[in-house]
Symmetry: D2
Subunit: 496 residues, 4 copies
């Protein structure tokens, strides 16, 4: 079986050590093995990054950016290989993987603007003949720990910006779908990145802990579930590192009585079930204001869901694919069961779908649950599956209260035509990313991504302008030149 | 004896509870008592701040700024009272206290620019007819915990900016010199600040822990020693708060062979002994490049130090005052003793100075120690007293290595005329605030203050642009309006 | 009779020369005389400004800003004197003059943020060991030429920002109401501004032409009518000066069928008749979408206008005052007559109002004209009087076409509840300042003021961020230090 | 003979009309013909640009940027063809043309950052529930008129930024070397640019005047000589267009006594003679402080100049090529003659060089003239040829006075090691682009290019951040939503 190794100092490597199966979720079979890095391997990666740092830091920023320009071209050129790698290990359909990759490429495009983004602030005459300026210098070696659900995009949120800012990087991708990261590393090398600037170690908690413990690593970016995010954040901080750790979500959409319901349903469909709901920005709860609205939504959604097709990644006519593992599939099914048991109404039940030719795959069909209430287990948890829950409230204020009282504060959305409702909602809701008639309000790459409450640990959001600030440290210089130097000396030296 | 209480919800209050002496360090006598807040008192302050938040947040930013304009005027009007309060409890000479206050006022001036500083980023057409923008919203209730050495300036680094950004504030000043903060609170009220927006609780670890534990407090700014900074930072983080914690320092000045030595000595004098060296930006180590430079510095410094006058705060002819407590004075004396024991040369010994009329004050004269080496206790520690140590190296590279290997990375400075030396130094040195011929490179209020290494815990520096980012959270809105609304409706309604 | 002179080099002066009457428009009587500067007097002012420039330019920016802080306090302290001066010469009611002054003070507040606003852009390593930065340096002597309708606010749009950027200034205010500018000059001096930095010359075309011809003046800001703006702009440009010249306006409000009509009427009332309509942002045309909307507006407006009270500036119960001159009053009356003659319907006729005790004042009552069409003289011209015209269209598209085809593009507004209509309007309309349910969309002081089409000549808008760019010129420095300087020399000098 | 035509609406075209010879300056022979556009042809281009504008303006900015990413790749891919085209018509050596192209590509890279560069300013709560933001909208159809000396780079300063900001473009390149622009247009089309967004018209004054007269063109960027720049600027302004017009230069380098003379001479060599001195940033005057410095420079320069090789563009071992035309060559020779006649010392005389095989080419060898004084014709004029003049002064102050009194203020440079001298020079010199030990201080693409005095007409510099501001107009929206909309309506509709 193919063994997926690491990428250190410009080379792939497969040192002996522990290994783990990599599944094709559509067939339910392990088709590859992934190496799990030992401490020594992680150390090799750090050493490599550490050695590459001084020269990379001193490379003019436009030259660093130019490698990102080339990297973007290569990503576009190799898009099909990348989406195939994603599909085979994650299971998402090719068009969905292409969308993920495109979003990731947009982060590379943003990184290409580094010369502008890294400008410091310059002040003349802060005192008599005294100038002062602030520079934004790279941190050194930084690390990224990324989740299974976006094997291309989430790494691309991190390393292009970190690298273009002058840092060197160690990436620990998810061991569920490890191949994409290695492929990206090779493209970076082809784009001209010096060896050691970007390294990939595959692994599990042993590798993660080594990253968190090693003092040569100056910062860690993480995306995953909230409990792990919290662990990463507190351990990184205790070890003197800068950290941003993005966790879970429960994204609600409010549908107001004046909304265009057909449009709302249409958009909710993709936002709820796309990528099997395995997205931290998935829209998993609809809050209908008024029973009339709720009834319409449930009715139209039920109809629309009939057209959804679940299947393997390489058939582009499929809408979404399997879940990532058998265990996860069973967990999601458990949430559906619990909702039913706790009084909700399972309107469309996606359990046990038929996917011909893929009977052992980890599939779960789109599921719609009505009359969900705040106390239910399925409401409290982040399900991370193709399950849309409907809640019914009597006012916008009640809808907003629901959202504000939830543990998470990642994304949210309102459907309305009314300028005032939209403004009130976006101003007051305790959520970091807000959509007005936009169901998946993922900020574009030149803004920054970040939830509030327990969806993000750290001061600065991911990518965009906050990403630049995260991957740099401020240095402020204050300068006064002593007088009677060469200038005045000169006039003495050459009397007329 | 006068009792210094708290300031909560627009009123001073003196609830029953534990108390502690407040000394006049020049006489060595306790002249006031300060109340130490119980958990209940801290809770009162938080409740007050919490209740004031919603309305304050919605107050237009220009109105919030206008209160800061008025506050600045009042600070200037009451400058003498403030410097007298500082002198009586901290001991610093009136001109030094006036300098501190002026630096603090400059932070208020920066806060007056809030309307400009709080501008978000607006993007048109991020997709077809889709707009997106990022807002910087206030956090809620935030807290500041401040040290004894700048009872006016350090609080003014924090609360004006926090408040003008729309937050409400709880300040826990040092219990050594608690009166200044209460006075500032009264001026803010006079300036028109609504009750509850700014609150002061005096106290000790009990108050600090309550601040760190209470989940209604969203962020904590701290300035103090590194061990406490680390404690504050990790506890605040564990409790889900944003935190920036500024710690200790050991600021080195490199003197190059081409420097103007007279000028350097002149500047080092104030930078080393001003405020008795109780400044986190005090210049406490001179690194002379070459014995020739070192000999000149020691010689000239020795002469210059003869003119220094130590005494009580209210005689403006004094250069600096007593240390803050008897214990601290004894600790500093201990460092001098240890240096001598470990082989250094105490060139000028400031122990047991004569200050007529103030024989029981906590005075220590200016001290110069030559031939200090990296292993000495007095080199490793932050002394925080009027002690200047001289080290001798043979090259600039050695000097820089010394600095980079020290635990702290707050401030540093180089004396040279040479553009290349200055550029190399400022680019490469692992220190956050760098002076070129400027011995105290404290960033002006419109840049940000922050050390590197173990001198600061957190991503963002204090005050200035980083302060604005620290006291706000990013929210990103993505907006698309459904078509066929009133606009198109209208054209249907009124056919020609 | 009192003679209003000039303010040059820190002193008022009244050199012999031509003079002109200054009227009290409420009584219709000349109550003062104003001196009209000769070329020699303008030259004196320029010389004074020229001499003050080098030292002012080198004054640290925070010190320059601090004078603006003090100036703001003085403006607030002397607000009543200022509004009285405005009222006596311009005629606007005290509450309106106070509003004008407040808007002007907001520009001073913005200028106080100069240290932040003047930050340059700093780039490290644009090449190997090469740094580059851009500074924004002052221009030198700059001038402002301001209109009668805002004798305090429009000068305050200009000189605080120009001065705080390091320029020195010559102001030529309107000779109709010259006293306010002299008063502001005295307050600036009291605030600590060095003599010569700010100078006022009263005068007419002779003074204006001297300003435009003198090569020592580097930039001119102008606000007035479009023909004069065009003259100023082309002459200033021909003479090598930077120029921004703001001209006339014809501001339309679209009222959509879904608007809250009561609210719209209420807001239009002040926007149309406030300050007798003598504002470049006055709302002078209502475009009703649909006859139903139009009928309601005309009906409700008619009723509301009955409550309006016209009179002298010192009775705060008045809503608005007289026009500026008899000639101007007759001109406005002529527009009303022409509208009637050309087929419009004069619903409320404000000609020949009764103002007891002020029978000879230049008063004109609020006037409402319905069924106005694009061909009418009263539609094409900027009336600059208390005349509101109603137009009727059948669709929003028609309304927008009207606006886009008009010569001017200063301000405009839409009344609607619909997010999509608002977005479409603000995106596409060819007007520089757009209101959504805001009838007078004057940008706040931290944004910039500027119309499109023939309402503004120049690249950069007035005040705010564009104002800073206008009053500074960019200088870009690229710096590389030769190696083998003192740094490496040192290591040779001290071999181990 | 090959005829070079126009590029309009996505197609090359060669309508009948006037034509002019295009020379190969190395052979001195006309090898092509260029069409000179009639008014009708210019009109076609404008119509094409006008029609393409609405859709291009509404294309999301990231999509517009993506075409620039592709364009950059294509420029790199076709670099050799472009440099060959430049060489054959302009005469510059291939390595010099490659450098020009690289600089141009850097402007495309900057343009790729458009999503970040076009962000507007967003202010929440400028009043109660009122928000305001400024957008930067494209102008419409804009034009560029570019000089012969950089047929690739100067157009690339303009159109990538203009286009990515949402404008459509008409380029009128120099009729001396017209082929490059057409080639760039084809690459843009290949990169995916919609037809009509970018158009090229070749021509002479007739085309220029049509561009300046046509009211559909909203802005003009020009680079050329000062008299033409002044003509373009005043005519464009008179016709209501925005304009930036860059003119001539006379760039001085000060060499201080502490400078590394070998290094200075080495750098001056390329800066003075590169591209035959036909650069607006060419270093054409050396101001030596002290005769000792001057003698050294003249001596070492003389030696170094012996190694220079002049010849045709396609031999990369040549240092520089011919001048652009015979007339221009004779004009430059005239300056040398006049200098000699007026008392200067022609140390190295480059007149009548021998270039084997190219006897009829427009060649002129590198020329060094010593003892030049301010009154000489050769000092006052911009020579635009391979002529370096040496002036001798006794102090830095005298050197700076020379520079400040010259008509032009484009670029300048100082050679020194001294921080203070460099700071004083860069702060005070009246020149827009300043080098510290950098002889050609052309700002990098993410800063902006612009001289002072009569080297630039207009407020905003070319390319970089100023370029973005030049190609956009500010629109400020102020928005308040009426209350009692759907939000409150809802709570009435659904009472409990």
């Amino acid at each position: 079986m193919k063994v997926v190794g690491h990428f250190i100092n410009g080379e792939t490597c497969t040192p002996k050590g522990r290994m783990q199966d990599v599944y094709n979720p559509a067939t339910g079979e392990a088709e590859k093995l992934v190496l799990l890095a030992s401490k020594a391997t992680v150390n090799d990666a750090i050493v490599s990054a550490q050695q590459a740092f001084p020269q990379w830091r001193n490379t003019p920023v436009s030259k660093r950016a130019r490698i990102m320009f080339k990297f973007k071209s290569l990503l576009e050129e190799h898009a099909e290989e990348i989406t195939a790698l994603i599909g085979a290990e994650h299971g998402k359909i090719s068009h969905d993987a292409a969308g993920e990759l495109q979003r990731g490429i947009e982060n590379v495009e943003f990184a290409c603007g580094a010369p502008q983004l890294l400008k410091g602030e310059h002040s003349k005459n802060v005192g008599p003949s005294i100038d002062s300026w602030s520079e934004f210098q790279p941190l050194g070696v930084v690390a990224g720990i990324t989740p299974f659900n976006f094997p291309a995009m989430v790494p691309l949120w991190m390393f292009p910006l970190a690298i273009v800012c002058g840092n060197t990087f160690v990436l620990k991708p998810s061991e569920r779908d490890p191949s994409c990261a290695i492929f990206l590393a090779k493209l970076l090398k082809e784009a001209g990145l010096p060896d050691g600037v970007f390294n990939v170690v595959n692994g599990d908690k042993e590798a993660v802990d080594q990253i968190l413990d090693d003092e040569r690593i100056k910062a860690v970016s993480f995306v995953g579930s909230t409990p792990i995010a919290e662990y990463i954040y507190s351990k990184a901080n205790a070890n003197g590192k800068r950290c941003q750790a993005l966790g879970g979500a429960k994204n609600h959409a409010i549908v107001m009585p004046d909304a265009d319901i057909d449009n709302a349903v249409n958009q909710l469909l993709g936002a709820a079930f796309g990528s099997s709901g395995e997205r931290c920005m998935a829209l998993s709860v609809v809050v209908a204001v008024g029973d009339e609205v709720a009834d319409k939504i449930v009715d139209k959604m039920q109809t629309a869901m009939k057209g959804l097709k679940v299947g393997a990644f390489d058939d582009a006519s499929n809408d979404f694919g399997p879940l990532i593992t058998l265990q996860h599939k069973e967990k999601v099914e458990g949430y559906i069961t619990s909702a039913a048991e706790q009084g909700a109404n399972v309107v469309v039940d996606g359990r046990s779908p038929t996917v011909e030719g893929y009977e052992t795959g980890f599939f779960l069909g789109a599921t719609l649950i009505d009359n969900v209430t705040p106390e239910m287990t399925s409401y409290k948890a982040e399900i991370f599956g193709p399950v849309l829950q409907v809640m019914r409230v009597e006012s916008m204020q009640q809808a907003m209260q629901l959202i504000d009282e939830h543990e998470y504060g990642n994304g949210t959305c309102i459907f309305t035509r009314d300028g005032e409702a939209a403004r009130y909602f976006s101003d007051n809701i305790q959520v970091g990313m807000v959509g007005i008639n936009v169901p998946l309000p993922v900020p574009v790459s030149y803004h920054s991504f970040g939830g509030w409450k327990r969806s993000l640990f750290g001061d600065l959001h991911a990518y965009g302008p906050d990403g630049v600030r995260f991957y740099t440290k401020r240095k402020t210089i204050t300068q006064r030149w002593p007088s009677s130097g060469v200038r005045e000396g000169v006039s003495f030296s050459f009397p007329s």
